[in-house]
């Protein structure tokens, strides 16, 4: 169970973790006369269900219909005609990203959703958790007299209304969900409601009805659900997962959080800001596994030690019983290695944040001879599904949490875009080391690429030198203006050729700062070149500017001299 935690670089992943909230993008795409669209198939979205002839109902709203046919013929699709060029099972952030890109590429696209549009991220993950964390951040500011005073501010006792906070999270989720739905409708993506089951190659059944659709290519994007280890009884009231916690139905005086990855860490930030005391239960020997050790250590000093938090490491929660009959929640702890009983905790609530398990049930994988591995759909580096015999299943792809490569919403979206690139004739392999990740505590943590130990191991194996550069937020004017000088940015790189291997940031707005580094990795930009780029002063981005400048690279800048431009 908890072994899944340690598995990958971003184990406990997406629920709370994913950084790119799709808000802006969707709202920008939202067209004005939404209600006039005829394409929606969701009864709850529109007062009537579009019947039979889907194609004709779409035509008026689809400016690209010609492009579609052009693409169809250009693709040299087999004589057999398909209902769609691309069918995506699962309308989470991954499926949505793929659908938007598919439309842009001229594919006739449908998306199947058995639950609610938006998936985990929008409904039960990153999005509502950002609402709670926004509240937590403000509460922290208002409660930090010392900090306020140093800015010359005086605020009397800050308080909060639980239901008001909960409503903010719910409203945000529904707003983003509508934006997401509308953006797909506006582009002419068909939303098919029901559980999608693969019946055979290029054939999917929607719901329990006998509605069967065919598509040239199919993407599985069914995502994940909270993982609950055995022995733990989730009652949704006092023993909860992130799904329940995000509704914030109560704020316990004392809550145990099982798992100290992204999800656990973010919830500890929320709960302590709202006045709870927190006890972490972590199976590994240290908190925050998966983070660069140096960043983890610093984060512990800032995010754990000074707060109302204690922790037990190297222990499993072998049995958790919800509060009942006037007794508190009890948590039995056993040693992670010896399995001997260690302790019993009595708390008011327990949040299970031990990671996420792929949701692939009912997908009909057996019909195409695909066997999941610990629930994950096996794929190659191009997200092509691999069957039980180790062969690629033609025209079938799997992206996002369901393949377990990198359980982050934006990674799923990037994988989906990569698949669309491939099916439209351009080979593409996503560099997962260029996918950033962020944890939205106060202050935030963000990272891209390798950690220092990973980089050193790789360097040893491949015979290159690894160097580390660091800068502090204490040197940054903007951070000091905010009185938020706590923070560190760390660059792991190759001094011989200037390649960026990893960047880790802990500090104010770290999640927004990481992208300069992740873009550089994605585009192959070297330090000797990016260090010549200009940053506005005074901004937090100068933390990275200084970071790149402090690296000692032997190679010379490779960008050609540009033509002088009159200013």
């Amino acid at each position: 169970m908890q072994s899944t935690l340690s598995l990958s670089f971003s184990p406990s992943s997406s629920a709370a973790a994913v950084s790119r909230s799709p808000t802006t993008r969707f709202s920008l795409n939202t067209p004005t006369p939404l209600n006039l669209r005829f394409c929606g198939l969701r009864p709850q979205a529109l007062a009537f269900t579009a019947s039979g002839n889907r194609r004709s109902s779409q035509l008026p709203s689809r400016p690209r219909s010609q492009a579609v046919s052009a693409a169809l013929s250009a693709n040299g699709s087999p004589p057999k005609s398909f209902d769609y060029d691309l069918l995506i099972i699962g309308a989470g952030v991954g499926g949505h990203g793929a659908a938007l890109h598919a439309v842009e590429k001229g594919l006739k696209t449908a998306i199947v959703e058995g639950d609610v549009v938006g998936g985990t991220c929008v409904n039960r993950g990153c999005v509502p958790s950002k609402a709670l964390l926004a509240v937590a951040g403000r509460m922290r500011e208002l409660q930090n007299d010392h900090h306020l005073k140093s800015l010359g501010l005086q605020v009397s006792a800050a308080g909060y209304d639980r239901q008001g906070v909960a409503d903010h999270a719910i409203n945000l989720a529904s707003k983003i969900r509508n934006n997401l739905t509308n953006s797909m409708k506006a582009l002419g993506v068909d939303i098919l409601t029901g559980v999608g089951t693969i019946l055979g190659p290029q054939k999917v059944q929607i719901g329990s009805s006998d509605k069967i659709v065919t598509a040239k290519d199919i993407i599985i994007a069914t995502g994940s659900v909270p993982f609950v280890p055995k022995g733990i009884e989730v009652d949704g009231k006092t023993v909860i997962t992130s799904d329940h916690a995000l509704k914030l139905e109560f704020v316990p005086d004392w809550i145990a959080i099982v798992g100290s990855g992204y999800i656990g860490l973010e919830f500890s930030d929320v709960y302590t800001a709202l006045g709870s005391e927190v006890t972490f239960v972590e199976a590994l020997d240290q908190l925050m596994p998966g983070f660069d050790p140096e960043i983890g250590k610093l984060a512990q000093r800032v995010l754990i030690n000074p707060r109302n938090i204690d922790y037990h490491t190297g222990v499993f929660a072998s049995k958790i019983t919800p509060a009942r009959d006037g007794k508190p929640v009890t948590i039995e702890l056993i040693d992670a290695k010896t399995k001997e009983p260690k302790d019993t905790l009595e708390v008011d609530a327990a949040l299970i944040a031990t990671g996420r398990a792929p949701f692939t049930q009912g997908l009909g994988l057996e019909n195409i001879d695909v066997v999941t591995q610990r629930g994950f759909v096996p794929v190659d580096e191009r997200m092509r599904v691999i069957d039980a015999k180790g062969k690629l299943v033609p025209n079938l792809y799997c992206i996002g949490d369901a393949n377990g490569k990198m359980m982050l919403a934006h990674a799923a979206s990037a994988q989906g875009i990569s698949v669309v690139e491939q099916v439209t004739g351009r080979d593409h392999v996503l560099n997962h080391l260029s996918v950033p990740a962020a944890c939205f505590t106060h202050p935030e943590i963000s990272m891209v690429g390798l950690t220092e130990p990973q980089a050193r191991e790789k360097g040893e194996k491949e015979g290159f030198e690894v160097s580390v550069a660091k800068t502090s937020f204490k040197a940054n004017t903007k951070a000091l203006a905010e009185n938020e000088g706590e923070g560190l940015a760390k660059l792991i790189y190759r001094p011989d050729n200037g390649e960026i291997l990893g960047v880790h940031i802990f500090g104010l707005h770290a999640a927004d700062l990481i992208h300069e580094a992740s873009n550089a990795i994605a585009l192959g930009t070297r330090i000797q070149d990016i260090k010549l780029a200009v940053h506005a002063h005074p901004t937090l981005s100068e933390v990275l500017d200084e970071l790149f400048k402090s690296a000692k690279v032997k190679a010379q800048a490779s960008i050609p001299v540009s033509e002088p431009v009159p200013v």
């Binding site: 930090n144 010392h146 250590k297 508190p328 204490k474």
Partner: protein, 483 residues
């Protein structure tokens, strides 16, 4: 804006100055700290073997325990004064800790990766080879007692004697886990407070739900005012202890109940700084010497130079500075309790009341500038202070402070020594006083009382008396000030 040169391209390591708010660095950078190795009590009687215990140092004011990151030296290594011995991780940072005794690292009591409370022995230092074995035996004993029952109270030596601050804490709640036969349920914050205030959780009866020990229980046991009410949503304020609760527990100061109708106004930054400085001053042993100064000549002199823009403040500052030239010890300070720090400049800080605040603009090199320049300088400083534009070196570089309440008619008063300085002079009003001279004639003379508070670690009574005598002579012959 964009064209302004960015002032921070230097290395991180040099940038610690920029953190003006939190004095404690949160970065895992290493700083150096000197190991406190207390004098053994026995050495003062008979010189037996010299085995010193190396204690877990208190690296920050909030540190209750430290983790040994790594021993730089290993058992058997010869140490010389000033060498780094061990890297200790506190709640704030990793620091290299060095010794200031020569010797042989005989035994490491707390190995790498383990944690010890502040003040607990972490290693033994022997002076000679012969004592190494003895030290090892001792270490074996103490580690035994530590493993059976962790109380770090060292058996034989009495470290508390020479140790000013951290007495060994009570039986530990070793890790974050409360263990032991009797089940103690205490909330995370309660455990933290218990550790901080040295409250034994086993001795408490919990009043929280399910009988658990709450932070309030611990605070009650420690005799301090509850720092917060339990944070109920919608209720006033959940105030998690992002800042440590008041530490004045020792004084047993139970805050009196507020008088009805009273209001609480938070300190401004300046007031906080004053408060902090005043509290710090309590750690310095001070004494006071008063001196009457006849001011008839001064008053006449002042009348003469006043039209030229000279102020009384400038005259007094100049007089003090000239006197300090002859008595450098009064211009010195004691930073660490071990050394005289003689200042090469004579910078006279002058206390000035600002609306709701107090600041001490500094007349730098007051002995070298002439009276007119000093007066001009003082006016500039006052204007800047009112506009809150004083640069740090214009208010914190003082080596001696002058405080004058004479203009209010105060005849004498007593000043508190500001941290980092050796002495402060409190000047009262000059008043006509009947004086009898040696021949028995009465005269009416203007007399002003000055009272100097000084740090007795470096400035003794005779020093101050001699300084005041010089000062008095200068005031009685003020014409020399224009030279």
């Amino acid at each position: 804006m964009a064209s302004s040169p960015s002032p921070f391209n230097s290395n991180t390591s040099t940038l610690s100055f920029s953190s003006s708010i939190s004095s404690s660095s949160l970065f895992p950078c290493r700083r150096t700290f000197i190991l406190p190795i207390p004098r053994r009590r026995s050495t003062s009687f008979t010189v037996q073997s010299k085995i010193r215990e190396i204690f877990m140092p208190a690296l920050s004011s909030t540190m209750t325990e430290g983790k040994i990151v790594s021993w730089i030296k290993s058992e058997g290594d010869t140490l010389s004064k000033g060498e780094s011995v061990v890297v200790v991780e506190s709640d704030k940072a990793d620091m290299d800790v060095e010794t200031f005794y020569d010797g042989i690292l005989a035994a490491i009591v707390v190995p790498d990766g383990e944690t010890a409370p502040v003040g607990a022995p972490i290693a033994l230092l022997a002076e000679t080879e012969e004592e190494v074995a003895e030290a090892k035996a001792k270490a074996a004993n103490s580690s035994q007692s530590q493993s059976s029952a962790p109380p770090p109270q060292p058996a034989n030596p009495a470290p508390a004697i020479s140790q000013p601050s951290p007495p060994p804490p009570p039986p530990p709640s070793s890790a974050a886990v409360s263990d032991g036969p009797k089940k103690i349920v205490a909330t995370p914050q309660a455990k933290k407070l218990a550790k901080q205030h040295k409250v034994d959780l086993a001795s408490l009866a919990g009043t929280g739900s399910f009988g658990r020990i709450t932070p309030a229980d611990v605070e009650a046991a420690a005799g301090i005012a509850p720092s917060k009410s339990s944070p109920a949503p919608a209720a006033p304020a959940p105030a998690p202890a992002s800042s440590a609760p008041p530490k004045a527990a020792a004084a047993g100061a139970v805050a009196p109940p507020p008088i009805p109708g009273s209001s609480v106004v938070a300190f401004t930054t300046m007031q906080s700084a004053v408060s902090k400085n005043m509290m710090e001053s309590l750690s310095v042993p001070t004494f006071r010497v008063g001196y009457p100064v006849i001011t008839d000549a001064l008053d006449a002199f002042y009348e003469k130079v006043k039209p030229k823009g000279v102020t009384m403040t400038a005259i007094l500052a100049k007089a003090a500075a000239v006197a300090l030239v002859q008595h450098p010890v009064v211009n010195a300070s004691c930073k660490d309790g071990k050394n005289f720090a003689y200042n090469s400049n004579i910078n006279i800080a002058v206390a000035a009341a600002l609306n709701g605040g107090l600041i001490t603009p500094v007349l730098q090199d007051a002995d070298k500038l002439d009276l007119y320049l000093l007066s001009q300088k003082w006016k500039e400083l006052l204007n800047k202070a009112r506009a809150k534009q004083l640069q740090p070196n214009e208010y914190n570089s003082g080596t001696f402070t002058l405080s004058n309440l004479g203009m209010f008619g105060v005849d004498r008063f007593d000043a508190i020594l500001p941290p980092g300085q050796g002495a402060i002079m409190a000047v009262g009003a000059s008043k006509p006083t009947v004086e009898a001279d040696a021949s028995g004639f009465f005269k009416v003379k203007n007399k002003m009382l000055v009272n100097v508070t000084a740090d007795h670690r470096i400035i003794y009574g005779a020093d101050l008396a001699a300084f005041l005598q010089t000062f008095s002579k200068i005031i009685e012959n003020p014409d020399s000030l224009t030279l």
